[in-house]
């Protein structure tokens, strides 16, 4: 593919920008967002939040983080746009197919032993992995005795997840993932193509409860057999990660399963000793004490 040799600068501060001043401005903005709107992004991983803020600065036609602070405090629509930037995590169906294969082999047999199964998708974003899980449970004959709780801080993405419509141009990739994840049917059985969207079967969401939940400020709301939280904690700093791990620990039944993203690890958290690895490759952990 032809790429321009000198694409314009990436969103970010001008080269002469003072890094300490930038950090101060970012902290002030996040403090303002928390105190005025109640959304707490103060303990998010700095590098990523910084990128997202600068993208918003640029999209709004502004020059500095401080100008963005002023705009969002006085313009509710601008705050909505920023909230989407900060809280939307990109995901795909059957992301890391080998993970789902391992889940089928190692966790499904354990779930079969429960009369009723509760699974929490924490930070589900637009729901791709919730649908992936629903499909797998359906194929394993467990869906009818499962309730899936799909939560996210952002109501806009939850509404999209509820609709169950995903871009049609991703279906080839998702079909490949599905097959490699051990899918046993034809993936196209699960959706109907409509315009440029793929509408997934409503039967997949009949046992899904979508609700707004903030991992930073809200408490546990039930006890689960599986907590699924992949590539969400990477956006938090270490302190916040530990707080959320405490929440997960308190919300899991004994011998319940914690599923993290393939490049996430409990090794760098305070909760490593409370779990054992179930798989040598995938990030599947069992709560043991």
């Amino acid at each position: 593919m032809a790429l321009p040799l000198n694409p314009g600068p990436l969103p970010g501060p001008p080269f002469t920008y003072n890094a300490d001043l930038e950090r101060l401005e970012i902290e002030l903005l996040l403090e303002g967002v928390f105190r005025h709107f109640g959304f707490d992004f103060r303990s998010y991983a700095y590098g990523s939040i910084r990128r997202r803020l600068w993208k918003r600065v640029e999209a709004e036609g502004l020059k500095t983080i401080s100008e963005l602070q002023s705009r969002i405090l006085h313009d509710a629509d601008a705050m909505e746009r920023l909230l989407l930037d900060l809280s939307v995590n990109v995901t795909t169906m059957f992301r890391d197919p080998t993970f789902y294969l391992e889940f089928r082999e190692k966790i499904i047999p354990v779930l079969r032993t429960y009369p009723f199964i509760r699974i929490w998708h924490a930070g589900c974003s637009t729901g791709e992995e919730v649908f992936s899980m629903a499909i797998m449970l359906e194929e394993e004959g467990l869906y009818d005795r499962t309730r899936l709780y799909a939560t996210d801080i952002n109501d806009v993405v939850l509404q999209r997840a509820k609709q169950g419509i995903f871009p049609l141009d991703r279906m080839q990739e998702y079909t490949d993932n599905y097959i490699r994840a051990g899918g046993i049917r034809s993936f196209s059985e699960y959706y109907t193509a409509k315009y440029d969207g793929a509408l997934f079967s409503p039967s997949l969401t009949k046992n899904v409860v979508f609700s707004q939940h903030n991992l930073v400020t809200d408490r546990s709301f039930s006890e689960f057999h599986v907590i699924f939280c992949r590539n969400v904690l990477i956006y938090f700093d270490k302190t916040l990660q530990n707080r959320v791990h405490k929440l997960f620990y308190d919300s899991l039944v004994m011998f319940g399963t914690l599923a993290l993203g393939s490049k996430e690890s409990l090794k760098f958290s305070e909760f490593e000793t409370h779990y054992e690895r179930i798989s040598s490759v995938e990030k599947l952990y069992r709560k043991v004490h």
């Binding site: 990128r51 990109v90 993203g261 690890s265």
Partner: protein
């Protein structure tokens, strides 16, 4: 010419795409066991790549080569490989990963890694651009240079694919440009910053 600072360096970030495997194998092979900086390698590769690259690099390196996981600490004398299908960001003292959209078709993006390293390590960061068939890394290398860090580029004429280093030279005309073997020897003897001055 990119001048060396007087306190030394903590962190090297290397970006490469096409032709990168041979160049990275040569690079890690040329770093002595006593090498005092953390070395981060950002190589464009397929999202489903496995352990192979890490294994191939470990074969040639006296330093321990590991694939980065979220919040992994940045330690001296180790080689860190950016995982496929994530952006790698260097924070102060540890790595963070992100699944934000690819930047100019790339995830990992070399620019994203360079920009975060420049922000976290400023003049104690070294950015290195090697062979590659696109212009990723040019903006980020510029940022490392502007924050007082050291900018090194493989001489495009000697690179398997000259596009990426040539683009970096245009973006940072005062970077040090050298053929790969010379660049590796230069890197191997760069002074390491004393630990207690770690920012």
């Amino acid at each position: 010419m990119s001048e060396t600072n007087d306190v030394g360096y903590d962190l090297v970030v290397v970006g490469t795409s096409w032709g990168g495997l041979a160049a990275l194998r040569a690079l890690v092979n040329g770093l002595p066991k006593s090498f005092g900086m953390a070395v981060t390698l950002v190589q464009h590769r397929h999202k489903d790549s496995d352990e192979l690259l890490r294994t191939l690099l470990q074969e040639r390196s006296e330093l321990e080569v590991c694939e980065i996981e979220d919040k992994m600490p940045v330690e001296q004398g180790r080689v860190y490989l950016a995982p496929p299908d994530y952006h790698t960001l260097v924070e102060r003292g540890h790595f963070s990963l992100s699944t934000e959209a690819p930047v100019r078709f790339s995830r990992p993006s070399i620019d994203v890694a360079f920009l975060s390293a420049a922000d976290s390590y400023a003049h104690r960061a070294v950015g290195v651009v090697l062979t590659g068939a696109n212009s990723d890394g040019s903006n980020g290398l510029r940022r490392i240079f502007d924050r007082g860090g050291l900018a090194l580029i493989q001489d495009p004429v000697t690179a398997e694919s000259p596009t990426m280093p040539a683009s970096a030279v245009r973006s940072v005309p005062r970077a040090r440009v050298m053929p790969l073997p010379e660049l590796i020897r230069y890197l191997a003897v760069l002074p390491t910053a004393p630990q207690e001055r770690h920012i």
